[in-house]
C-alpha cells in the first residue's frame, strides 16, 4: 500500500513536470507574440512588421505633446529613454494620458518611422497614493515613482513639511 502511494505520487509529479516543460517551451516559442507591444528600441531596430498594425509602448516623452488647436489631432513621441518614435493620432485620449505616462498605441508603422495610431491606451504603474502625498513628493522634487524607495528609507512625507529648494 505504501509503495502504491509512492508510485502514484511519482507518476503525478512526473506528469506535472512534463506538462510544465511543455507549457514553458510553448510560451518561450511564442514569446514575441505574447508581448502586447514593441518597445521603441525594437521598432527602431526593425523588429516590428510594416505590413500590419502593431502596438508600440513606452512613456510619452517630456515636452513632446503637440495638439492641433483646430481639431483632435495630436502628435507625441513614445520613448523608452533609449530610442523614441513619433506618433500621430486623431481622437480622444484616455484620461491618464500625459507626458511621462506609460502608453500603448495601436497603429501602422510608416516607412518614415512614425506610427499612425488608431488607438491610444494609457498604462499606469503599481503606485497609488492620495493627491496630497503626490503633491508633497513633487514639492520635494521626487517623481511619484520614487514613492516606494522613499518609503523604504523614511516615513512618507504626508503631512510633514518637505525639504525646500530641491526643485
Amino acid at each position: 500500500m505504501r509503495r502504491q502511494r509512492r508510485q502514484r505520487l511519482q507518476v503525478i509529479l512526473a506528469m506535472l513536470v512534463l506538462a510544465a516543460i511543455a507549457a514553458g517551451l510553448m510560451l518561450y516559442a511564442l514569446r514575441s507574440n505574447i508581448n502586447l507591444f514593441f518597445s521603441p528600441m525594437q521598432v527602431v531596430a526593425g523588429e516590428a512588421p510594416m505590413d500590419r498594425p502593431i502596438r508600440a509602448g513606452g512613456l510619452v516623452a517630456k515636452d513632446s505633446v503637440k495638439r492641433d488647436p483646430q481639431s483632435l489631432a495630436v502628435r507625441f513621441a513614445v520613448t523608452d529613454h533609449v530610442e523614441s518614435i513619433q506618433v500621430r493620432y486623431r481622437g480622444i485620449l484616455p484620461d491618464l494620458f500625459r507626458e511621462g505616462q506609460g502608453v500603448v498605441v495601436l497603429g501602422e508603422l510608416q516607412p518614415e518611422g512614425w506610427v499612425r495610431a488608431d488607438e491610444v491606451l494609457a498604462r499606469h504603474d503599481e503606485n497609488y497614493m492620495p493627491p496630497e502625498v503626490a503633491d508633497a513628493l513633487k514639492e520635494a522634487g521626487y517623481a511619484p515613482e520614487d514613492y516606494r524607495d522613499r518609503a523604504d528609507q523614511s516615513p512618507p512625507p504626508a503631512g510633514t513639511q518637505p525639504d525646500a529648494g530641491v526643485e
Binding site: N35, D95, V104
Partner: protein, 246 residues
C-alpha cells in the same frame, strides 16, 4: 496528531468540525467585508491619478487573489485524493469550485470596468488578462467534467487530473506582468518589499482580503458539509443525524 488528522479526514469528523466552525467564519467574513467596503469606499483617500475609480481595487484584488488561491487549494485537494484516496479531499474540491469560478469572473469583470476609465479599453489580449481568462475556462472545465461524468469515482479522478495540470497556469498568471510586456501593471504588493501605497489605502484592502478569505473558508465548510450529506446519505451516522430509519 495523526489520530486527530485521521478523525478530521473522515467525513463524520469533518462534519462535526464544520458545524462548529462555519458560523464563526460566516460572521467574521460578513463583518470584515462590511467594514472593508465602508472603509475602502467611504474613507480611504482617492488616488492622485485615477481619482475615485481606483476604489475598484477593493473588490478586484481580493477577488483575483481568491480566484488563484482557491485553484491552488483545489489542486492540493486533487493531489491528496489521487495519491491517498481520501474522499473528503474530493468533496472539498467539489465544494469550492463554483466559488472559484465566481471569483475569477468577478476579477475579470471588475478589471474590465476599471480598465475603461484608466486604460481606455475594457479588454486587451495581454498576458495577464488572457491567462486569467484561461483560469476561468479551467474552472468551467472542472465543473463541466464533474457534471458530465455521473460516476463519482471517475468524475473525481478526471477532475483532479485536470485541476492538477491546470495549476501550471497559476505561476503564469503571477509572473505574466514581469515576463512579458503587458498593459496590466506589475504587482503593487509583494512579500519582500513595502507596498507601493500608503497605509490608509492598503489597510482597508487588507481587511477586504481577510474578509474574502473568511468567506472562502465559510463557503467551503458549509458546502463540503452538504456534499458529505449528499454522498454519504446511506451511511448510518447520516441517517441517525437526519432522523431517518434510526
Amino acid at each position: 496528531m495523526w489520530a486527530y488528522l485521521h478523525k478530521l479526514a473522515s467525513p463524520q469528523g469533518f462534519y462535526a468540525l464544520s458545524v462548529r466552525l462555519s458560523p464563526w467564519c460566516w460572521g467574521l467574513a460578513l463583518t470584515l467585508m462590511v467594514v472593508g467596503t465602508i472603509w475602502g469606499l467611504g474613507f480611504a483617500p482617492a488616488d492622485y491619478q485615477q481619482g475615485n475609480s481606483f476604489r475598484i481595487i477593493y473588490v478586484h484584488v481580493p477577488a483575483a487573489l481568491l480566484a488563484q488561491s482557491i485553484y491552488v487549494t483545489m489542486a492540493v485537494a486533487g493531489l491528496v485524493f489521487l495519491v491517498w484516496r481520501i474522499k473528503l479531499a474530493d468533496m472539498a474540491a467539489t465544494a469550492m469550485a463554483p466559488l472559484g469560478a465566481a471569483m475569477t469572473f468577478l476579477a475579470l469583470f471588475s478589471g474590465a470596468v476599471w480598465g475603461v476609465p484608466t486604460w481606455g479599453t475594457w479588454w486587451q489580449w495581454d498576458a495577464r488578462l488572457t491567462s486569467m481568462l484561461l483560469l476561468l475556462f479551467l474552472y468551467f472545465g472542472v465543473l463541466a467534467l464533474r457534471g458530465a461524468l455521473g460516476g463519482r469515482q471517475s468524475a473525481a479522478r478526471a477532475a483532479s487530473v485536470l485541476t492538477l495540470v491546470g495549476v501550471i497556469n497559476i505561476p503564469i498568471i503571477q509572473y505574466s506582468v514581469e515576463w512579458w510586456y503587458t498593459l496590466h501593471q506589475p504587482a503593487t504588493f509583494s512579500v519582500t518589499s513595502r507596498p507601493a501605497m500608503p497605509s490608509d489605502m492598503w489597510l482597508p484592502l487588507l481587511v477586504m482580503v481577510l474578509g474574502f478569505y473568511c468567506l472562502f473558508l465559510a463557503v467551503t465548510l458549509t458546502r463540503t458539509r452538504h456534499e458529505i450529506l449528499r454522498r454519504e446519505a446511506s451511511r448510518r451516522w447520516v441517517r441517525a443525524l437526519t432522523g431517518e430509519g434510526s
